[in-house]
Symmetry: C2
Subunit: 564 residues, 2 copies
């Protein structure tokens, strides 16, 4: 009755989710979630190094087991689970895991218990900032064509930086690792029961955006260049000899033990994985000319452009052929702290009062208070760099800024200023893409912030001066993974056909208020001055007038009255 | 048995205090406090203008009545109150009050009920910033010698700015005012029962530091200069025809109705008033070569220098002959938000959690947590400008800055950064005084922050790199007022003799930790870069390195371990 169905597995920062979606129309038949048991909200941190963020691969195995069983059981209430034909996976990136020759993570070996370098190096880990600098310098000199694909600056969040860091500082882990695999490759490999690191296919989405893989340039950066950075890197390159594949590529079928435990059949096709944001864009109906913003703890911006347009956009994280939709260039930009920034303020600065028993209630309370404020009235401007700047400065060693506070400034005003700061960060990226000639007619937003934070979406629309199209699915990433599975299993002929069938255009649009946009234009000028002064050190920026401008904007906003 | 005694009345921002002190040795026989009933913690503010801060003069009358009666009653338990020979007064400044010809504040007239301009314009009111700019411009052109006495920039906090503001914007109040009197003149006048605005003596402390009165330059700025700013100002100058007097000058005896109600005799001599900070310096034993820091909601720095030294120090608030100790130049500098800054953070940003039931408990909790942090470990630097910058930039249209925050930054780290910011502000003033050749061998601290905030005092010692001598008396201002009363009543021959008899040298010294000072030297370099970039717009300041320096300092501080 239901026809063929597919499973999408979405591995996020704090939890993993599964959906069963109908191939015919993308309808979601069942879903399940799993919170990682390790660390704090799934993330293992360090008291002495704020840059460290790791995860235990055992949490991924637990999630796979729990989610397959649970979502299959729930789906069985309305469909014959024998109709499930494929599983697709999205995961965070770059989250490389050191593994042995049989693809077993070192962290699962008792000999490496307690060594954080044996864990998965989570996307937001910035310990490798010095290594990122070395890689940028080396590639600028000897492989600029590769480096241009990631905006000419390699990030501390990415594959080679993290591996180089361990190569330089932890020989025991470095030598025990047969190779390093991205989380988005590891999980499909587990699902398919692969056990040979050397023969394992890597998805071009993660390989391209995080490891500088470019088929037209001969794959990864040249071996001699990696060798100069560290011999280990050349070894890892050699271990990745199999050409990278798109996320719609079948890599095998469900491993027998998992099939048995979940009740799913062993015929189920496993698709190569992809990065959560990129597959989220697919689940949100990405097309040429649209930007999909996946807004959660951080934000990833995904666009696709006709193959043949320039693949090099300075300050934008990555441009990779086929990383999103086969046949198109996939473009990734992003901001390293969005929901994380609001959450930081509520959890760590504005301690929750007795009237808000939970963090969620505190967010609601601040949002209510912040919604009553007129744009510009607080006189505050913040920079959204508490977790560094991913685009367009690509510099993890930046930090937050708040200016304009007086003795009456309230917590809700700061909360609003932080939301505005992330909107201005988004506007900076959009401006850069426009300068570089990327066509952009529609902004589609999805993810937790887009779904639940009406205040943030209005501020984004107002501060950017464009409508925000809120994607239908609250499970865009998992749906994108499911779409990849549908193509991999042959249930749709190609991805554009699968997207057309399985996604719906956004029905909700948040429209900018022109009066608010006029005020935000003024605040954005101050934001840009701070951005350039702290991020670029441009001596042409005179900050002497910044505070006076903010005071003038605030006076005008307060006397002009509150918004309707 | 007790010998002669004197009363010191201290009118602060939120409350007033009274002491009865023994003339022989300054021992405090009795004390009383009175919280102003008006506004919020005594201050009337505006929802639409963060610059507005007013007080109701009726609160002062209520305080006089309550405090005289209460302190006399308490003293009577141990002395014969007939031995009380004088009353001295200190008050905030510049806090001008519009009065009618009989010295009755307009605010007490029902016709002006609800008009904030008829109230006392509290020292920290910054509504007159535009007027301060006009006055600075006019005096730079036509009375530079006067302007040099206040560091070449006239403040929005001061007498003529506030009067000019009302002259320009509220003709009804401006025309009803026969003259404007400082709070420190009004209260002694009430005590002495004076009823003729034209004949009223003004204290040189407030007149000099806030209204540019300089006996050697012919008193107030020339009438034609004031006339050009506004005819009303020339009129106010004319109403202040009586030469200004030192705070040790007797201006009358206690008015009969007050004498009757309090039980004090009508023979009690009333001394001319003085500014709270300046009389606080007296009560703290000020001498040539010492700086007295009166640290409360704001900080005033008071020094005295041999007459004949240069009276002009750019960026320092005021240099006035005889304003503190007759025969010496009185030098005033200061910071417009200190305790207010810490209180802002606790009240408005870090909302008090259930574990801290009161604001005071929240301060204690943050202080405990902040004390456990090593200097530099947070990677934060703040500017202490939430209420503008009084010295050395003299610019009320500046605002707060916080930089260096990441996603792990805690409220206690910000709390500590704000304390450090005020210490760096203090260091900036000390550096300016040293550059200008002012001898400064000892820093004496007094006031609420000095008495109660051990963490702040250690941070000040470490960040400035000098010992902090904590003054004995927690009632330094009131004791200074009492010392003035003792001289006015003839119980001591002059102020140095009275200071020698009635004050004790500080017994507690907070010593800097050289290791902490080394870290603070690095943080101060970042503070100074921000100070110059936002305060002076110096294009030579490159802020691109600021965040990286803070991250490096933080890493080093965290790996070096916590302080013993």
């Amino acid at each position: 009755m239901s026809g063929p169905c597919v499973i999408g597995l979405d591995f996020g920062t704090s939890s993993a989710r599964a959906i069963v979606a109908r191939v015919a129309d993308g309808a979601i038949i069942a879903s399940a979630t799993f919170d990682y048991p390790g660390g704090t909200a799934g993330v293992i941190t360090s008291a002495t190094d704020a840059n460290l963020a790791r995860q235990h691969p055992g949490d991924y195995l637990a999630a796979i087991d729990a989610l397959l069983g649970e979502v299959a059981c729930r789906a069985a209430a309305s469909i014959d689970i024998g109709n499930i034909v494929g599983i697709g996976v999205d995961a965070t990136a770059s989250t490389p895991i050191p593994v042995d020759a049989r693809l077993r993570p070192l962290a699962l070996d008792a000999a490496f218990a307690g060594d954080p370098d044996a864990l998965a190096h989570l996307w937001k880990d910035h310990t490798a900032h010095a290594e990122a600098g070395r890689i940028t310098a080396e590639l600028t000199a000897s492989a600029p064509a590769h480096l241009a694909r990631c905006g000419m600056t390699y990030s501390s969040e990415w594959f080679w930086s993290k591996i180089l860091r361990v190569a330089r500082t932890n020989r025991r882990v470095a030598q025990a690792a047969a190779t390093w695999v991205e989380q988005s490759d590891y999980i499909p490999a587990v699902l398919a029961g692969l056990g040979d690191a050397a023969a394992m296919p890597r998805n071009v989405c993660a390989a391209g955006h995080k490891a500088l893989y470019a088929a037209d340039l001969g794959g990864y950066p040249p071996a001699n260049v990696l060798e100069r950075l560290h011999p280990d890197l050349a070894g890892v390159r050699e271990s990745c000899a199999v050409p990278a594949v798109t996320s719609t590529t079948p890599i095998g079928t469900l491993a027998a033990p998992l099939a048995a435990r979940s009740g799913l059949g062993p015929h189920v096709v496993i698709a190569a994985g992809g990065i959560d944001a990129h597959l989220g864009a697919i689940g949100s109906g990405v097309r040429a000319g649209s930007m999909v913003k996946i807004m959660g703890t951080s934000t990833c911006d995904i666009l696709i452009a006709e193959a043949g347009s320039s693949p090099d956009i300075p300050g934008v994280c990555g441009v990779v052929d086929g990383s999103v939709v086969p046949g198109y260039l996939g473009i990734e930009a992003g901001q390293s702290a969005v929901g994380d920034l609001f959450d930081w303020f509520v959890r760590h600065v504005a301690r929750v009062g007795p009237e808000a028993a939970t963090i969620a209630q505190a967010h609601e309370q601040f949002s209510r208070e912040a919604a009553r404020l007129a744009p510009g009235a607080s006189g505050l401007v913040a920079l959204d760099w508490n977790n560094g700047n991913r685009c367009v400065l690509v510099d993890p060693l930046l930090s937050g800024v708040l200016i304009g506070q007086n003795l009456h400034t309230t917590a809700a005003e700061i909360y609003r200023a932080l939301i505005e700061a992330t909107a201005f960060g988004a506007r900076t990226i959009i401006d850069r893409l426009a300068e570089q000639g990327t066509a952009l007619d529609t902004i589609i937003v999805c993810g937790g912030i887009a779904e639940k934070n009406a205040l943030a979406m209005q501020i984004y629309a107002d501060a950017i001066g464009r409508p925000m199209h809120v994607a239908e699915s609250s499970q865009a990433c998992a749906l994108g993974a499911a779409i990849c599975a549908a193509v991999a299993a042959g249930a749709h002929p190609d991805m554009p056909a699968a997207i057309a069938a399985m996604t719906r255009p956004p029905s909700r649009v948040v429209v900018p208020d022109p009066a608010a946009t006029r005020v935000y234009d003024e605040l954005f000028a101050v934001y840009s001055a701070l951005h350039d002064a702290f991020g670029r050190g441009q001596s042409a920026v005179d900050l002497r007038t910044a505070m006076k401008q903010l005071i003038a904007i605030s006076r005008h906003a307060r006397t002009a009255g509150m918004p309707g």
